[in-house]
């Protein structure tokens, strides 16, 4: 189900906890699985759960609780826009609207070419930089103006 490298990474995470508490590694394991697969199909969640010796539903609870885990396929670039209060007050909603218009999709949708997925996110802990957005769960972009969004999209378009 998962590649040898992913399994090795998961094993390294498991080693951080006592042997009878393997399931403590569930968040890392799901993250590693998602990096490999792009998203988390239920078979992968079940596999991870079995690998950690925990019930599948318990792993699913985790995977569905945190919104950085994707339970459905996403495009090559996932853009998560924060719409919580500080961002909203600083133009987060406008940034999201501009993205929707530019990409021609709504939240939780993917462009027909499979390049972009737009998500609505919760506070990313960088309210001073508002409005913020997150690319592919890893790259944070601050002070989102239209120009900056255009620039980011153009960069991502080429990747």
């Amino acid at each position: 189900m998962l590649s040898q490298e992913s399994l090795q990474q998961i094993d390294r995470e498991i080693a951080k906890y006592p042997p009878d508490q393997k399931q403590s590694a569930v968040m890392s394991a799901l993250r590693i699985a998602q990096v490999e697969k792009g998203w988390l199909p239920k078979e992968v969640i079940e596999f991870v759960a079995d690998y950690l010796g925990m019930p599948a539903i318990a792993a699913y609870e985790v995977a569905s609780f945190y919104n950085m885990y994707d339970l459905e396929p996403v495009g090559r670039h996932k853009i998560t826009v924060c719409t919580n209060l500080p961002c909203a007050l600083s133009g987060g909603v406008h940034a999201a609207d501009y993205l929707k218009e530019k990409l021609g999709i709504d939240f939780n949708e993917t462009t027909p070419d499979g390049k972009f997925t737009l998500k609505e996110g919760e506070c990313m802990g960088a309210c001073g930089d508002a409005p913020v957005l997150l690319v592919n769960n890893h790259h944070m972009c601050s002070w989102m103006t239209k120009e900056k969004i255009d620039q980011i999209l153009a960069e991502l378009e080429d990747k």
Partner: protein, 779 residues
């Protein structure tokens, strides 16, 4: 001990108690949804907020530990205001569909909304909708009604032992669900219906069939496993609509297994026999009681005269009541035959005549909690005794070490420290090694009668079990159904007794059925040279009395039973149901009442006699079994068949002095173990959970569950390779004359050289004995 004041009343509670415990102790009701005394604390509903002195805000009573001198108000202005606030939030998303909700009238949310809810909602926005989940054939869902108390999640995790439900997503989107497209398959799943404080989880078989206030509630006792769970049977117009647990902390606590809860569907099955029937020239005709009884009485009289009374045998189901079993044996003995037996699925009767008394659990059920070492021999514990397994599971959390030996290592959902997986014929040698290791461990000699059989060398796994048991403070050794039904039952029991003796523990027999103990007490076993259940079939009789038993499904050797009973000149069947095999074998069918339509008594595995009354009128011309037997006694003019009610029969049957005592010891039985003989493969049989008795076999919803799937044969990967078939292939199983075609799948929880195939199923009814040699051929 801590002193605490609740609503002005002083109460002393143990250290570590919560405010909820203290409130319960003085009888102060604190409204709650997620709190349940048998489950862990979640404090997720917040309904139990109370005012605590010096606390800046209301605190949840269920999760707040008591401190000395604490002052609590459960109904102060602050407390009630907080409770009403919580209630308003809970009702925001709850649909107002009480008139069409099955929970209506017995709903905790509805009840508490009367006291704490507003008459009108201030919430005008859209309500949340949650899609329903398919949890299987027993539990119906209306998830929009869910208040996310997580009682069901905690039940599956903590009590049933396997987390089958979870709370996925978060915040307002949180919902209770099984893992994607899974169902809840636990044998205890029905309890989540009782636990759900709203109408989110309701009973699928009961759905929309009655309102709770229309139902009469009557107490009864479960006729299925050996626990004897206490029931509340709910009846409308003489039809049983639903079965709920009656709380009895000593037996079933507040739980019921699904078998106890949903088997009532079988009561209204189309198979019910409602009129006496006679077979004339091979054709079945309905008749009246007088004709049928006279036919039976005359037939028996004639057989006794022509062939001697010994040519008559009586075979009864261990699910029959004490009254039925007692009168059956009394009647058979009055004819002059001692051939009466209720142990239809057993094949080794060598211990008869050496028994101290009726085999029983050896201890009260409630004492399972205080055990710290348990050795389970030959048992499908979880499926055969779901609630006993549940008790073991709870005890295991508190430090009980469980060891097990069986021919199949099925998942018990509890930690098993030492597990030996071995063929049925090899259980005795392993037990001998355990005895040897224990004797060495304790520095004593094994009992003399075992003498030469004690081996010099001991395997590591046997030693591990011995060490575990030897280190115990309170030890029990239990013998399960596979052991009791095995051909080596007497040796296994002798060794279990010896292991218990060496460890200073208790030797117990778990028991197969509701009256596995009761049958012995009612003396429904041969006592003075009569034939036992096996002999009665191996040495065919001229006439048989069958009590609630179906030839193809209730016997150790169904192939033999069908042949012999089919060929017998006279078979009188007392049964609540008709079945093809009964119609083929019997000559007269007398419709007797199932447990809901007769009064009766069951003696459970701890030796507790529990009597119950009829909860509904008998269907059609059905009559209580004990009355039918009494009238048969009268027709043959026997003495002692003039009891007026079932209480009189029970009193006579269970009178001190005349009935045997409880006791598992075997006195003076020689230990003769011939050693392994099976050359080919050995058959391992379980009686699947929803096939054990005629009633549960007709419970339609239970028959749709995963546990009731058509049987497949299972064998380990190595065994399959030895046979030369692939997993999933179709094979022909053969035992003597009997053969059956089934699928065979790889299952490494089955011992090597064994083929596990369920008994008590139409698909395998053509096979022979439940244990012994079996051959497998590719088709």
């Amino acid at each position: 001990m801590l002193e605490i004041e609740i609503d002005g009343k002083q109460v002393t509670v143990e250290d570590g108690s919560t405010i909820m415990d203290a409130a319960t102790k003085i009888g102060a009701f604190v409204p709650h949804f997620c709190y349940h005394k048998k489950l862990s604390i979640a404090a997720s509903c917040r309904m139990c907020l109370v005012q605590v002195e010096k606390a800046p805000k209301p605190l949840p009573a269920c999760a707040t530990p008591v401190t000395n001198g604490m002052k609590v108000w459960t109904r102060s202005e602050q407390a009630v205001k907080a409770q009403k606030g919580v209630m308003e939030f809970l009702l925001i998303n709850h649909p107002l569909d009480c008139p069409i909700c099955d929970q209506g009238g017995e709903c905790q949310l509805q009840d508490l909304a009367v006291g704490y809810g507003g008459s009108q909602s201030r919430y005008e926005e859209e309500k949340r909708v949650v899609f329903n989940k398919n949890l299987g054939p027993l539990v119906s869902t209306d998830m929009t009604r869910c208040i996310n108390c997580t009682r069901c999640v905690r039940f599956t995790t903590e009590i049933a032992g396997q987390m089958e439900l979870g709370q996925a997503f978060r915040g307002e989107h949180a919902e209770i669900m099984p893992f994607v497209e899974k169902t809840v398959d636990s044998e205890l799943s029905g309890n989540i219906i009782d636990l759900c404080p709203v109408g989110a989880l309701t009973s699928k078989p009961f759905r929309f069939s009655a309102r709770t206030w229309e139902l009469a509630r009557r107490r009864s006792v479960s006729p299925h496993d050996s626990l004897g769970s206490n029931l509340i049977v709910q009846v409308k117009h003489d039809v049983v609509k639903r079965v709920l647990p009656f709380e009895n902390e000593d037996i079933n606590e507040c739980w019921l297994s699904d078998k106890d809860r949903f088997s009532y569907e079988g009561l209204n099955s189309e198979d019910r026999l409602t009129v006496p029937m006679l077979k004339q020239d091979g054709v079945w005709k309905e008749t009246d009681w007088q004709t049928a009884l006279e036919f039976a009485a005359n037939g028996l009289r004639k057989t006794a005269k022509q062939n001697g009374p010994d040519s008559i045998g009586a075979l009864a189901s261990p699910h029959a009541t004490i009254e039925e079993l007692y009168l059956l044996q009394k009647f058979t003995r009055a004819i002059g035959s001692d051939s009466v037996d209720f142990r239809l699925r057993q094949s080794d009767f060598r211990a008869d005549g050496f028994r101290e008394g009726a085999p029983w659990l050896g201890m009260p059920i409630s004492e399972v909690a205080s055990l710290n070492r348990l050795f389970v021999i030959g048992s499908f514990l979880r499926k055969d005794s779901p609630l006993l397994a549940q008790r073991v599971r709870q005890a295991a959390k508190r430090g009980l070490h469980v060891s097990a030996i069986n021919a199949s290592a099925e998942e018990w959902l509890l930690p098993v420290k030492n597990r030996v997986l071995t063929a049925p014929s090899a259980i005795v040698p392993v037990l001998l090694q355990v005895v040897a290791a224990l004797a060495a461990e304790k520095g004593v000699n094994a009992a003399e009668h075992l003498g030469a059989a004690i081996p010099a060398t001991v395997s590591d796994e046997a030693r591990a079990i011995a060490q575990s048991l030897a280190s115990g403070r309170k030890v029990a050794v239990w013998v399960g159904n596979l052991a009791v039904q095995s051909e080596y039952a007497s040796e296994i029991q002798q060794l279990a007794e010896e292991i218990a003796r060496l460890t200073g523990g208790v030797f117990g027999v778990i028991g197969e059925a509701a009256n596995s103990v009761g049958g012995y007490l009612a003396k429904a076993v041969p006592l003075v040279g009569g034939l036992n259940a096996r002999q009665m079939l191996e040495q065919p009789r001229k006439a048989y009395l069958l009590l609630n038993a179906e030839p193809d499904l209730d016997f150790a050797n169904p192939a033999l039973a069908q042949t012999v009973l089919g060929a017998a000149p006279l078979v009188i069947a007392l049964s609540a149901f008709k079945s093809p095999s009964l119609l083929a074998a019997a000559d007269v069918l007398l419709p007797i009442a199932p447990f809901t339509e007769t009064s009766g008594t069951f003696v459970n595995c701890e030796g507790r006699a529990q009597n119950f009354n009829a909860v509904a009128r008998p269907l059609g011309d059905t009559r209580p079994g004990w009355k039918v037997l009494r009238v048969l006694g009268n027709l043959l003019e026997f003495e002692g068949f003039d009891q007026n009610d079932s209480e009189a029969v029970a009193a006579e049957a269970l009178a001190e002095g005349s009935r045997p005592d409880l006791g598992n010891r075997l006195y003076g039985l020689e230990f003769k173990f011939a050693g392994q003989t099976a050359a080919g493969f050995e058959r391992v049989s379980d009686v699947s959970i929803y096939a054990a008795d005629p009633l549960v076999r007709r419970a339609t919803s239970l028959q749709k569950t995963r546990d009731a799937k058509a049987p497949v044969a299972c064998a380990s990967t190595a065994t399959l390779a030895a046979i030369g078939v692939a997993s999933g292939a179709r094979v022909r199983l053969k035992q003597g004359q009997g053969a059956a075609e089934v699928l065979i799948v790889a299952d490494d929880s089955v011992a090597a050289n064994c083929v596990r195939v369920a008994a008590a199923n139409a698909a395998t009814a053509a096979l022979g004995a439940m244990c012994g040699e079996i051959s497998v051929e590719r088709v």
